[in-house]
């Protein structure tokens, strides 16, 4: 229960953040890809800048997590094809739907049935990747 609550509260906070910062708005994504506003770039850029400092700090101090275990940040496997091709496919969807996975969940709060279609699509896409995984170049 304690575990459930702590993750749930993080999610709650993140959900409010996705809406109040408008990163879950289709319009903001469109505006970003038109390079007409600094808003999205500022958010992603400052999150990364602070994230780099945070990760460096955690590594250099050999910090432990809350349960006292060593923190292990496993790097992604080396490669090129899967990242560029997968990335392009993701980008096409991100711009068309105007939402990436986090914002898709958040948008359920609009109570629009169309968001369910979006999530259904995302689940189908995830499933089809699983089916085709061994046949795709990685």
């Amino acid at each position: 229960m304690k575990q459930f609550l702590s993750f749930f509260v993080i999610g709650l906070f993140l959900g409010i953040l996705f809406i109040k910062s408008e990163v879950a708005s289709w319009f903001r994504i469109y505006e970003m890809f038109q390079f007409k506003s600094f808003h999205m770039y500022g958010i992603i850029g400052s999150a990364i800048a602070l994230g780099i400092i945070a990760v460096k700090f955690l590594k250099s101090t050999e910090a432990k997590d809350f349960s006292g275990k060593e923190i292990n940040i496993t790097p992604k496997e080396k490669g090129f094809t899967r990242y560029i091709v997968g990335g392009i496919i993701f980008g096409l969807g991100w711009a068309l739907a105007g939402a990436c996975p986090g914002p898709m969940y958040v948008l359920l709060g609009t109570a629009l049935p169309s968001i369910l279609v979006l999530i259904l699509g995302a689940l189908l896409g995830t499933f089809l990747y699983g089916v085709l995984k061994d046949k795709l170049p990685h």
């Binding site: 459930f4 702590s6 993080i10 906070f13 993140l14 409010i16 809406i19 109040k20 990163v23 879950a24 708005s25 289709w26 319009f27 469109y30 505006e31 600094f38 958010i43 850029g45 400052s46 999150a47 994230g51 780099i52 945070a54 990760v55 955690l58 997590d65 349960s67 923190i71 790097p75 992604k76 496997e77 080396k78 990242y83 560029i84 091709v85 990335g87 392009i88 980008g91 096409l92 969807g93 991100w94 105007g98 990436c100 996975p101 986090g102 898709m104 969940y105 958040v106 709060g109 629009l112 169309s114 979006l118 999530i119 699509g121 689940l123 189908l124 896409g125 990747y129 699983g130 089916v131």
Partner: protein, 184 residues
């Protein structure tokens, strides 16, 4: 209260995202939203058909707790904390009008794409389903989405994440500049 009701500026939102990532790492996890989609496929029984979904999803069930919080947080913020719609750059508003999207600055999402009426047309339904499909397929193929690659991955200075993020932008720019004029 103004601080809560108005749009949170980038220099508030960005650091708060970094804080979320930091907390998740300190909780022994990582910041990545799209893996929850895989977990849901597994819970739905996809492991019977495809090995990719045959994994110990109980270890990953925490990301569904996050998702549950995100859904409620979104509901609260949209229904009670957001009296104004996103205010978009004026040139972008004009561009959108040319595409037939006139709900800019009045709604959180374009009603032309997300309303029930639009969803019940073949074109509207296809746009939503295909958009979602590409997001789900691409995120798993690339091994992460905006949170996993752009935020977590780049914070850890990983080359694969940089390649993926470049891919995100190529895809997004192609969609908006080359494909949008064809479908709208």
């Amino acid at each position: 209260m103004d601080l809560i009701y108005s749009t949170w500026p980038w220099y508030v939102a960005g650091p708060l995202i970094a804080l979320t990532m930091f907390l998740l790492i300190k909780m022994g996890k990582k910041f990545g939203m799209s893996s929850s989609l895989r977990t849901m496929c597994s819970i739905g029984g996809a492991g019977w058909l495809v090995d990719f979904f045959k994994f110990d999803w109980k270890k990953d069930v925490w990301n569904l707790y996050v998702v549950a919080g995100v859904i409620l947080g979104g509901f609260i913020a949209l229904q009670f904390l957001s009296p104004t719609a996103p205010q978009i750059n004026q040139e972008v508003l004009v561009k959108l009008q040319e595409l037939g999207i006139n709900s800019t600055n009045t709604a959180f999402l374009p009603t032309e794409l997300f309303s029930l009426e639009s969803m019940l047309t073949v074109k509207g339904f296809s746009i939503l389903l295909i958009g979602g499909f590409f997001v789900g397929f691409g995120a798993r193929y690339a091994g992460g989405c905006t949170s996993g690659h752009a935020i977590s991955g780049l914070s850890n200075l990983q080359l694969p994440s940089l390649i993926a993020v470049i891919g995100f932008f190529i895809g997004g720019l192609v969609m908006i500049h080359l494909i949008f004029p064809l479908i709208f």
